[in-house]
């Protein structure tokens, strides 16, 4: 049984159908990369998974359990299992870094304060920010904030980590520090869905690449397959354009 199975997932913004039946599945410990042109619906896939964008059809199952997005308890369970990191970090501006990381574990997951704090300190040290515990988000660089956002998501100990273009808001010299963190998570066996434009990085860490266009999956396969020998014209055109240079 796959860890996560998405079947014919549909979503609309008003009358505009943004996801027109997206299907894919992944095993535990896999890294799946969602790639595709801007506006193809990659972010929307991640947002629907955690119930931020309403689902209008299809199904999502984790370990065979279907998530019913119309049911609050079911959505809560889904959010318990998946943590999302946004492109714009979305750290809580009113909280210090340490509080950003501990607030959900203590208040939502009801873990003891000391334990949550120790865990947060470990995670922040892992992303190289052990000395920033008491800073506020607006005192950090974009790359540092993004690493805090990753630590905040990891503190929830999710089964699946969703990463939405976590490097695209960063200056080039800050990209690597974030990619290093993700690379490390991949080697530790974290299950991840990664939306990214960093094709070289995707090739390196992804077990499977899913190419989306206009709200649907056009082609999926191993990174080498998709990048070097795409079967569909649309994929050939897309990868031809972005991999040429």
């Amino acid at each position: 049984m796959p860890h996560l199975a998405v079947n014919d997932l549909r979503a609309k913004y008003g009358a505009l159908e943004v996801l027109k039946g997206v299907s894919f599945s992944m095993e535990k410990g896999q890294v799946v990369a969602l790639v595709g042109p801007s506006g193809s619906g990659k972010s929307t896939v991640l947002r629907t998974l955690v119930g931020l964008t309403p689902v209008s059809g299809g199904s999502v199952t984790i370990h065979g359990d279907e998530i019913r997005y119309s049911n609050a308890a079911s959505v809560r369970r889904a959010r318990d299992q998946m943590a999302i990191v946004f492109q714009q970090y979305n750290l809580f501006q009113n909280m210090r870094i340490i509080d950003n990381v501990t607030v959900a574990p203590t208040k939502i997951k009801k873990r003891p304060k000391a334990e949550a704090r120790a865990d947060a300190e470990r995670l922040l040290a892992m992303v190289g920010l052990a000395d920033k515990l008491n800073a506020f988000p607006d005192q950090l660089s974009g790359g540092q904030q993004q690493r805090v956002a990753i630590a905040r998501a990891l503190a929830l100990h999710p089964e699946i980590l969703l990463l939405d273009e976590v490097t695209s808001a960063l200056d080039p010299e800050l990209v690597n520090e974030v990619l290093d963190t993700i690379r490390r998570l991949a080697t530790e066996g974290m299950t991840m869905i990664l939306v990214s434009h960093e094709m070289a990085f995707v090739r390196e860490v992804a077990d499977k690449v899913i190419f989306m266009d206009s709200g649907a999956v056009v082609e999926e396969g191993l990174p080498e397959q998709l990048f070097d020998a795409p079967k569909t014209d649309r994929a050939r055109e897309f990868f031809g354009k972005i991999l040429r240079h």
Partner: protein
């Protein structure tokens, strides 16, 4: 003019001043109590107004109607409404209570919109991040949205309360011994109107000016980015 000068020693007696001070205190007490309670209730109203779901629809309609209606009624009409309504249900209610309730009702309607504007000034991405981590609506409001909305909410809310100090004068119409009422009384006792109301004007100024300053101070303080503020604290320490 001579009459005024001649009246001055007679007017500024300890008795008269004590009377004025007392009514000034009453004005201030009524305004602050009414505005504070109203401000608190306005949060409840805004929270109810943002309840999602179909079953909360009547609730939302009531909240929206309340704000729209009371913002369109002159304060003096609210006072009379409260006066006559209260008198039919509890004939022994004090005029002070009636005045405070009126101010409260008015303050809810005005500050609710200030609060809503403040909450809406916080980017949705902040609440999305909270929701994705399973924060409930109330917890998101208290731990994420409100702390970021204060700088937008407080200055106009304080400005409202300060300007309401003078609108509270209208409760003299139902016979509350607040400042303006005392003025009319002293005037009727034969003191020159210029003298009496000049003094009273001064009293209003002295009550609201320090509060305005406090408001401006808070505004400046809140406008400073959090990071800088804590950095300054660290430097000072």
């Amino acid at each position: 003019m001579e009459r005024i000068l001649e009246q001055i020693p007679r007017f500024f007696t300890t008795d008269n001043m004590a009377l004025l001070l007392q009514s000034a205190g009453l004005t201030l007490a009524m305004t602050l109590t009414g505005c504070l309670i109203g401000f608190g209730l306005a949060f409840v109203l805004v929270y109810l107004r943002q309840m999602p779901g179909l079953w909360a629809l009547p609730l939302r309609v009531v909240c929206i109607t309340y704000v729209e209606v009371f913002r369109r009624i002159p304060f003096i009409v609210v006072i009379y409404l409260v006066l006559f309504f209260i008198q039919t249900v509890a004939s022994d209610a004090s005029l002070f209570t009636i005045a405070v309730i009126s101010i409260c009702i008015y303050a809810i309607a005005y500050t609710a919109d200030i609060i809503r504007g403040g909450l809406e000034s916080v980017p949705v991405t902040q609440t999305e991040a909270a929701r994705a981590m399973n924060f409930g609506r109330l917890r998101t409001l208290v731990t994420v949205t409100l702390p970021q909305a204060w700088p937008v909410i407080l200055p106009p809310a304080i400005a409202f309360a300060v300007s309401f100090i003078k609108d509270t004068a209208l409760v003299s119409q139902i016979g509350v011994f607040e400042l303006t009422f005392r003025g009319k009384e002293l005037n009727n006792q034969g003191y020159s109107g210029i003298l009496v109301f000049g003094t009273i004007a001064m009293c209003y100024f002295l009550m609201s000016f320090p509060l305005s300053m406090l408001g401006q101070y808070l505004e400046k303080r809140l406008a400073t980015p959090r990071g800088e503020r804590s950095a300054r604290k660290i430097r000072r320490a």
